[in-house]
Amino acid sequence: MKCGFYEIVSIAVVFSVLLGIKLLSSPKTAVAGNRIGALAILAAIAMVLVHGEILDIKLVIASLIAGSAIGVFFAVRVTMLKIPQLVALLNGFGGLASLVVAFMILENPNSGYGSINLIASQIAIAVGGVTFSGSIIAAGKLDKKISQLPVVFRGQSSASLALLAAMAGGIVGILYADQSWRIVLAIWMIVISNAFGIIFAIRIGGADMPVTISLLNSLSGVAASICGFAVSDPLLIAVGAVVGASGLILTRIMCRAMNRSLAEILAGRTSVGKNAPAAVITQEVADTARAKQDLDPGKKFAEIATILADAKRVIVIPGYGMALSQAQGRVKQLYDFLDSRGADVRFAIHPVAGRMPGHMNVLLAEVDVPYEKLCEIDDINPAFPETDVVLVVGACDVVNPMAITAEGTPIYGMPILHAHEARRVIVCNLDEKPGYSGVENPLYRKENVLMALGNAEETLSRIIEALNMVTK
């Protein structure tokens, strides 16, 4: 490595990246922050191109252009509903890129790297492999290419432990290997780490995805950082470490919001608890539910419309059901309608609503809901007792009061949105089945709760229709 110039530019790049992240702390400056980060990385690439001694510059530039073109294609084509899949896929690509670079170091007989570089290369292959295969499985589950249900088989934990031991062996072994054995060990590591990633990811169910994606995001950064140790490049180390830290923070936030420890998730104990009270709906619940359903639909929508028309304070609670039925446009229509009548309408966003951190915010921002109206759980919870109407759109577990009252259930202790404290609640969910946790939701049978079951997009358009009639 040449001294001076490279180090100075590296420091400038790291500071620009950090400045960019700092600007992400407010939506006003976030666009600029992201662009500063992008320019910093592009500058770093340009510097390496100009500064390094590259034997085949045409090949490198052609690869850079090809990768950029694919990146543009992904970025332009993706819909906001499918952002989690894209992020999972990109995590995987990052992991694979680090894996390939580390493999090249071990494969190159004239690299002249020391034992620290060799060990780092093996670890980078391990982390990169886990990230790659885990992310591809996660992306497949999110895109419904493979079953979203957790896959658990007997001896899964022992298999994981055996694979971990095999990886540790591969790392230690590299110190004692000659050139040809290095390649064997590197290939060994590729196979083992990918197998581990698959076993890790298949047992994670749909609603655990926010945790999984965050963790894989962190790992893709860690892989890049360790790859930096392998090639002794401080810039890679620093930027990779920042990504690792970010993913770690998000993982912790998601774990807390789901009431699970990271250790539990790593050990593969999925939140669909076996000792969870089964989805048995008691006779009483079934009766009230039927009574509510039996209400003439026309009358019911008229009642909902009257309640909404009179409301001064409204809170909307969106969940993944809103995303699935693509109801965010209708939600915005309803928001505009109530807002124009002078009602105060806000949105309560639970951290794990959706399939990745912040997913609901992006969906609502896309339909132009002002971001001031998107509230975090701790800020909005005190407002529920003063709220006239809560409108739940495709959310279940995040409004389940059992999380406060029912000790022993999987969701006990999970922070929830206190919808049950509002004067009236309207639930626009697909059905009354329990959410992902498998815990029945007693909110549905409260006196002041109106159930409007079915596809949320259709339900909301009927509510808007009825509102137009009522307020004419």
């Binding site: 992201n34 690439i45 392998a230 090639v231 470490a241 951190p357």
Partner: protein, 92 residues
């Protein structure tokens, strides 16, 4: 470069990153994550350096694969983040 210095850089970057990212509101967590995707594409620098020294055809092919993958991350990540962040509008 000395392994000690590299470790210090790793720890310092983790701590500073942790502090700064803690201040990002949950409102922006999705763009934060896709932005981090883009940053993890920084591996492209390692890929270029490794490819630069490659002599064998197999190494060149591997290098190209690594560069393409990392570049998809960099360009795709930053562009989709930009697209999302521009959607966040204030009232009025």
């Amino acid at each position: 470069m000395n392994i000690g210095i590299l470790l210090v850089i790793f720890i310092a970057a983790t701590l500073v990153g942790y502090k700064l990212i803690s201040d990002v509101p949950s409102l922006l967590h999705t763009p934060l994550m896709s932005g981090m995707n883009a940053l993890s594409g920084v591996t492209v620098l390692g890929a270029i350096v490794a490819t630069a020294a490659a002599v064998m055809l197999s190494s060149k092919i591997l290098g190209c694969i690594a560069i393409v993958l990392a570049m998809v991350n960099v360009v795709g990540g930053f562009m989709v983040t930009d697209r999302m962040l521009r959607m966040f509008k204030s009232k009025g």
